[in-house]
């Protein structure tokens, strides 16, 4: 019964993965004028000397660290607010799913319009707060462009993170809090002694899961800046080398090496994630 699933996954996922690994030892392009040449580990050596790859690596790390940290902290705060006994809780939770449901490519376009340097509402808003000078092209300035991209990712994912944490919050037995109140624990103590320790497994899993996602970020960067002004991430650079240059240069082997590098980086986190779920596999 499990055979069809394994078959599809093997042909479409594992076979291309091995092919990528194999291809990474050659120099060739998709255009037949480039002859296939065995180059051994040269493509991998080249990685360490490629400033664009190293920048992409750095950008990916910055993006991942900042966005995941913000999403976790804000997500926790929102979850605590929404966990309070408030009216319309169901409706609020539903509204929080909206940013998650909108395709990233489309919400990136929405935000690109809001960040428009002349007519964008966000630009006006940031000008009014004196955070930026009037007429600043937010998506055209190094640093700012990355901040904007992170903002979009945080917008999209934080409510989702909050919902996951909320699910964890609802599993904490109320008696624990009552007992703590009787013992005279204040709100801060209750949060740090009960809520946070009880939420640790939920947060840990959500954190690794989000990290995996952030490390392979593509859509938001591609749509908002195409990877210009210091925002190119590994996936964006990888796609550029593989596809944009596929027929015009012998870069397919090198692109495959980048793919393998990304795979290795993400695998480390994936292994941690699977290990933390191990118990449930029975």
């Amino acid at each position: 019964m499990i055979f069809p699933a394994i078959l599809v996954i093997s042909v479409i996922a594992f076979f291309p993965l091995f092919k990528t690994f194999y291809d990474s030892f050659f120099k060739f392009g998709l255009n037949p004028i480039f002859e296939r040449q065995f180059v051994g580990i040269n493509n991998y050596v080249r990685l360490f000397k490629d400033p664009r790859f190293l920048d992409a690596l750095k950008n990916t790390i910055v993006f991942t660290l900042v966005s995941v940290a913000l999403e976790t902290v804000l997500g926790l705060m929102i979850a605590l607010v929404v966990h309070q006994p408030i009216k319309f809780r169901g409706a609020i939770r539903a509204a929080m799913l909206i940013p998650w449901a909108i395709p990233t490519a489309i919400s990136s376009q929405m935000w690109r319009w809001m960040f428009n340097d002349q007519f964008g509402i966000m630009s006006r808003f940031l000008e009014a707060l004196h955070i930026i000078q009037p007429g600043t092209p937010i998506l055209g300035r190094p640093g700012m462009a990355m901040a904007a991209i992170i903002a979009v990712d945080v917008w999209k994912t934080t409510p989702f993170m909050a919902l996951l944490i909320l699910a964890g919050l609802q599993l904490i037995p109320e008696q624990l809090y009552e007992a703590a109140r009787i013992d005279g624990a204040n709100a801060m103590q209750r949060f740090f002694r009960i809520t946070l320790p009880m939420l640790r497994p939920t947060i840990a899993v959500a954190l690794i899961f989000r990290t995996l996602d952030a490390l392979r970020v593509f859509d938001v960067v591609y749509v908002m800046t195409r990877g210009s002004v210091g925002t190119e991430t590994l996936s964006v650079y990888n796609r550029h080398v593989l596809m944009d240059r596929a027929f015009t240069s012998a870069s397919f082997g090198y692109g495959s090496a980048i793919s393998v590098a990304i795979f290795v980086i993400i695998s480390v986190f994936a292994i941690i994630y699977i290990k933390s779920l191990k118990l449930e596999l029975d």
């Binding site: 019964m1 699933a5 607010v81 909206i98 395709p103 002349q118 699910a167 392979r216 859509d219 796609r239």
Partner: protein, 281 residues
């Protein structure tokens, strides 16, 4: 401060925070709606109005008359719809086996399936492109549906096996005693009982396939074959310098409104499915 003023103060802070959260979540969507309804003259105003002074549906008409957007929507429906149905069919078989049968290498199979869900898509992009090109599947529906099934299958299987586990075992056992085959049990007993779970899983799969960008961008290279996210991301104006923002926003609203309605209608199921899929394990 008396207890009642403290309580009022607490409520004021609480509802202010809730208001912030709601505005934050909804505003970009609201702004897309507003922008899509403004005539160009009002859209390109230095101080944009929060409520449009004039409303026009011009952008909505242009999206369908000046470009093949209806074709793009149809592509997305075909691709995401087929992906969902096939993924549910293959996934429920696998999920049932994992939830109920004992077999060798179960942990290995589960680990493999999980591993695929964590694949960086870009890592197989190049090789998959060559594979699909050799099979002449670039710019065809199957060329996108098959890779999508692979992407969604881990999620579908994982969530479904969670739902299957929660079903009472006794009914299936008595069916087995009555001589009902495994497949038959799955089809006429397990699946009907798990119907709400199937709906939730199907919805998540559909949204995942509808939203996918990287494969769609790479494997569909003709504008009339673009899926919706790609079409909207690559919207071009008449000249290089002109970006048709009004139309982009109209297109964005057209395709996100059904998603938003679906999410609002099924939010409980979606949250259940999501937490089954990622956090609970």
């Amino acid at each position: 401060m008396s207890i009642s003023t403290r309580k009022i103060l607490k409520n004021v802070i609480l509802y202010t925070l809730v208001a912030f959260i709601l505005i934050w979540c909804i505003f970009p969507f609201y702004w897309a709606v507003i922008s899509s309804l403004k005539p160009d003259k009002d859209l390109f105003e230095v101080n944009p109005r929060l409520i449009p002074a004039r409303v026009t549906f011009e952008n909505y008409i242009k999206v369908f008359t000046e470009r093949p957007f209806h074709q793009n929507i149809w592509n997305s429906i075909v691709v995401a719809g087929s992906t969902t149905l096939l993924s549910l069919a293959i996934g429920s078989l696998a999920a049932y086996a994992i939830a109920r049968l004992k077999f060798k290498g179960k942990v290995l199979v589960m680990t493999l399936i999980l591993a695929v869900s964590m694949f960086p898509q870009v890592s197989i992009l190049g090789a998959l492109f060559v594979l699909l090109r050799n099979m002449k599947l670039i710019n065809t529906y199957p060329g996108l549906i098959v890779p999508y099934i692979t992407l969604t299958l881990p999620l579908t299987t994982w969530i479904l096996q969670n739902f299957f586990r929660e079903l009472p075992k006794e009914v299936e056992e008595s069916a087995a005693i009555d001589g009902c085959s495994r497949l038959r049990t799955l089809w006429s007993i397990v699946l009907p009982m798990a119907a709400p779970g199937l709906v939730a899983t199907g919805l998540l799969t559909f949204i995942a396939a509808w939203n996918e960008f990287l494969f769609a961008l790479t494997f569909m290279q003709r504008p009339e074959m673009y899926t919706v996210p790609v079409a909207i991301a690559l919207f071009k104006g008449r000249s290089q310098y002109e970006i048709p923002w009004g139309q982009i926003m109209a297109a964005a609203v057209i395709v996100t409104t059904p998603l938003v309605i679906l999410v609002l209608a099924f939010q409980k199921k979606i949250i259940a499915g999501l937490s089954a899929g990622s956090v609970k394990g």
